[in-house]
């Protein structure tokens, strides 16, 4: 317990990242996988900001801003792909989407 140190935040970040990773590995719904990827990105943001807080630096927050911006672009394209998939293939199950492989 004791005082609030950077390790608290790093552990939280690690736990969130792993939960997100488990989601990506175990779920098959493309939208859930997308949400889990966002969760992992957020966990990384959290540890970046925590390191910045420990080292008295704003660079961590700057990186986090960039990650959020990229995540927004990723969301736009990713969701458009999911929409197109659901329209053409009639599924959002990652096990059924293999048009590029077969």
């Amino acid at each position: 317990m004791g005082d609030l140190g950077v390790n608290h935040f790093l552990f939280l970040s690690a736990i969130l990242f792993i939960i997100g990773m488990m989601g990506v590995l175990t779920r098959r719904n493309l939208l859930i996988i997308f949400m889990c990827v966002e969760l992992m990105a957020n966990a990384v943001n959290l540890s970046l900001v925590a390191f910045g807080w420990e080292l008295n630096s704003l660079n961590g927050q700057g990186f986090a801003i960039f990650i959020i911006a990229i995540a927004a672009a990723e969301a736009a394209v990713g969701l458009a792909i999911i929409m197109a998939l659901s329209r053409r293939q009639r599924t959002v199950d990652v096990d059924d989407i293999r048009a590029l492989r077969d």
């Binding site: 317990m1 005082d3 672009a73 999911i82 053409r88 096990d95």
Partner: protein, 244 residues
């Protein structure tokens, strides 16, 4: 225990539980709601770390835009298209859990044994307060040290927008798809784009193929009236074009 530690544990618990909820819950909309809760709590932790601007950006961009879009798509996707939760490959699930546990142990060991090698920065609480606060200080960092990266990110965003528009265009609506579909919900159809479309596929509620001329001459085809209303409402609501 000091107050801040107590508050941290409260937030961290909600955060972790809702993250587990995202992964473990069957209903995708519930997953989305849990993710919103998780992101709001992460924003609260950003506030604890003195990153107020980032916290607000997190709420506005992540919960206010990205997750709304996810829920939006979830509601547009036919529920029949979503995979069942308890089918598929159980091996995948066990391996995923095992890998996750292993990685957690590794990261935990790393965090506990780490040492700080970097030198401490100059952005102390006093220097941030001197320029007016977190927002101003972060703005200075972004527009001086990371100017090029900032420009590149704006370019990426523009490309992302264009890509999303191209992908979401309904130009080949059902054309290459062997499956038959009911008509999709049209929320905001761009004007005058439908004449170029091939007629929709035959489905449970067959869409009548209509000649392109009916678009320009409102009220001509009463059989396809319903469809034309949704596809080209301007023909009906522009003053002067209405038949009295």
């Amino acid at each position: 225990m000091p107050w801040d530690v107590l508050i941290f544990y409260l937030i961290a618990t909600i955060c972790t539980l809702s993250a587990i909820g995202v992964v473990a819950v069957n209903n995708p909309v519930h997953s989305g709601v849990f993710l919103v809760l998780c992101f709001l709590n992460i924003a609260a932790i950003f506030v604890m770390l003195g990153a107020e601007f980032l916290a607000v950006v997190q709420v506005i961009v992540y919960t206010g835009a990205i997750l709304v879009l996810v829920l939006f798509v979830l509601m547009l996707v036919d529920p029949d298209d979503l995979p069942e939760f308890h089918t598929g490959r159980p091996v995948q699930r066990y391996v995923g859990l095992l890998l996750g546990a292993l990685l957690l142990l590794e990261i935990g060991a790393v965090i506990l044994n780490r040492t700080v090698t970097g030198t401490s920065g100059t952005d102390t609480a006093a220097s941030i307060a001197a320029v007016g606060g977190n927002t101003q200080a972060l703005g200075r960092t972004l527009y001086t040290d990371y100017l090029l990266a900032f420009e590149v990110v704006s370019l990426v965003l523009t490309v992302g927008v264009i890509g999303a528009i191209v992908l979401a265009l309904p130009e080949r609506l059902g054309a290459a798809s062997p499956v038959t579909r009911r008509g999709t919900i049209s929320l905001a159809h761009p004007k005058d784009t439908d004449a170029a479309l091939s007629p929709g596929p035959a489905g449970e509620t067959p869409m009548p193929a209509r000649p392109a001329a009916t678009v320009a001459q409102p009220g001509l085809a009463t059989a396809g009236r319903q469809l034309i209303m949704t596809k080209d409402p301007d023909a009906y609501t522009t003053p002067g074009s209405r038949r009295s």
